[in-house]
Symmetry: C3
Subunit: 271 residues, 3 copies
């Protein structure tokens, strides 16, 4: 596997405390050349779903050999498991709570291992605290892996993907004449990002949310200020937006809101 020297961090730690800064200190202590990138830390506390969505969509913009650390971890310190994975040349570390589901579902070549906590000491990692595994387990392992001093296989036994906690991200449902999905993220601009792939949204598609038909467009500036539009987002998912405004506010819609595409492009039943 290539080495990029990059470690990305995705957490729900926010920025009002030095939690992320301390993880950087631990990483740099072990691997001074690491290039650490904050993917996002403002995932709402314990919203595994939003983290799972963005981890899968965002990691593809990094070079192969990058180590992606995802810590949304309400079960920290309990019996919940920690997993490492490789997927199409990228490496991942996360709690086993569904965070890695979309990455594994959408990658061709994957391997998953279960972290064996008994091996931590042999790997040169001190006994962890009960409440900050981001600092005590994830950061040092990521540093060692990014430095290519630690191989995925050394973390513990390989397990099957279907032995993991199921994906935190619901899949859209394809019916005969429609695709039913839901809003999975509301972004900073109030755009409603759904779990419906762009490939389902053909030029004849009709998009409905909260009983309202939303016309298709290509970009925000294509409609009048204040108008709603449905578009395939730059991350290739159906998005409902409002020009120069917030669709989330205007439609009083949030995560979990049902979205229906009629006259969709349905995927080949064989694919």
């Amino acid at each position: 596997m290539r080495r990029s020297g990059i470690i990305t961090l995705l957490t729900d730690f926010g920025d009002r405390d030095p939690f992320v800064g301390v993880m950087r200190g631990v990483i740099l202590s072990r691997f001074p050349e690491a290039r650490i990138v904050d993917l996002v830390h403002q995932i709402p506390p314990q919203r595994v779903r939003a983290g799972a969505f963005w981890l899968e969509r965002a990691h593809r913009w990094f070079p192969e050999g990058t180590v992606h650390v995802a810590v949304i971890d309400p079960g920290v310190g309990t019996e919940r498991r920690i997993v490492g994975a490789s997927a199409d040349g990228h490496l991942f570390l996360a709690p086993d709570n569904g965070l890695l589901g979309p990455v594994l579902e959408n990658s061709q070549k994957t391997r998953v291992v279960l972290l064996d906590l008994e091996r931590l000491s042999a790997l040169g990692i001190d006994p962890p605290s009960a409440t900050f595994h981001g600092r005590d387990i994830f950061a040092p392992l990521a540093a060692e892996m990014a430095a290519q001093r630690l191989r995925l296989r050394a973390l513990g036994p390989v397990i099957e993907t279907d032995a993991l906690v199921p994906s935190a991200l619901p899949r859209p449902i394809e019916k005969k004449d429609r695709v039913e999905g839901e809003v999975v993220v509301v972004d900073r601009f109030g755009n409603l990002i759904t779990n419906i792939p762009g490939e389902n949204v053909g030029p004849k598609a009709a998009v409905e949310i909260r009983g309202k038909q939303i016309p298709l467009a290509r970009t925000y500036g294509d409609v009048a200020a204040g108008a709603y539009l449905a578009l395939v987002s730059s991350f290739d998912r159906l998005e409902i937006a409002r020009a120069e405004g917030s669709a989330a506010e205007g439609l009083a819609a949030t995560v979990g809101e049902r979205v229906v595409v009629t006259s969709p492009v349905l995927r080949d039943a064989h694919s």
Copy 2:
């Protein structure tokens, strides 16, 4: 032109989504040695004015050869143009919406080029999405320019500065006995930062906002807690502050509020 290897990012993307993180991934994929600095990402959505102010004031604190990327871009994906510029040894990429106005007005040696989208493919850049040019156009161009593999002139034709959309930042008006400006930024501490240069504020100046005379001082600690003061800020602009408090809240003032300096130092009519 020198190379600093530094790329600064100024956007209205905020931090609740991984948009900035993904731009970093794109930059590092092309130019692993890049030193990427977040200038600011919390410009309120689509407030080109605040971005234009800070881009001009802040970029001077970076070494020459730095590439500054500014993406406040309500027109993304429409016919709005993208421009590159050099100004006194710094390089800039931004949409043509007034963001670069203050930089160009306040620099001695400038050159502006219009990005020719037809050339992107020849420059090794994939066809962009309609809604995230920060990732698809600005980030890869900035990486190539910072790596000195791409010269400004290669982006497209040189154009005159006055062919650009006018500056988003209003200039203060100098009258016979006064300078009239306005609040252009409210900072984190509630300080009201105006567009009036420090050189207009002599020791005899009287400062008025919302019908209130504000006494001049040198720094916050020079007046009693709760008192208002006017000072020349560390970015050389007239600022109205409140000791141990928020002038914005106390005066119920925000961006656009008129500020008048009487008995100012007027600039030489020839300058």
Copy 3:
């Protein structure tokens, strides 16, 4: 002293203005190889106490030879002093307002020097503005120190620790059968972090806040959703939390709230 090349930044500057970005520009202009880490910038304006707490707890996770810059500085530009310090192999720069107190109290080997402003010019540092010493004094000094071109001793005369403004962080009070402390930080998750060291909290300890007894636990997942728990945090301080909720909201408690541990482990009177 070792060199790590790392500079950490802890401020109350927030992220809505480019203040931190500009500090990075100044640092990189002088020391391009610097690895700059944001420890935290969301300390509430002028809350020296929270900054003092986190600076001490967090800096230990960085390698020796790191330069830690702490700028919570309501007195900027007044007669307040600036100090440099070394403590157990780490270097510090901060205003003399109690920020460094906990670091110095909890380190074995310390030295404190008073910055002699008359020397700045000889050190190659331009005359500072009155209101942004983070950019004009702290950043350039940190860059020079991290690059090992400037020794602590060159900043000015050595002074005794007890000549500094007293620590901004209160110490818990040990009584015969109890330890009385207080909440010193409320973190992102609403956890109430106190100034009571983990060593005071034995397995028999009883924890009280706002008249409520809080049972001890090891981690958040050890109690039912909604239940309160007291635990020794990952930063070795007594913390009061609520499983899948916010203790701060649930208990209507904030910084300064009194916390009492009865049946504590008391420290040896000789230590």
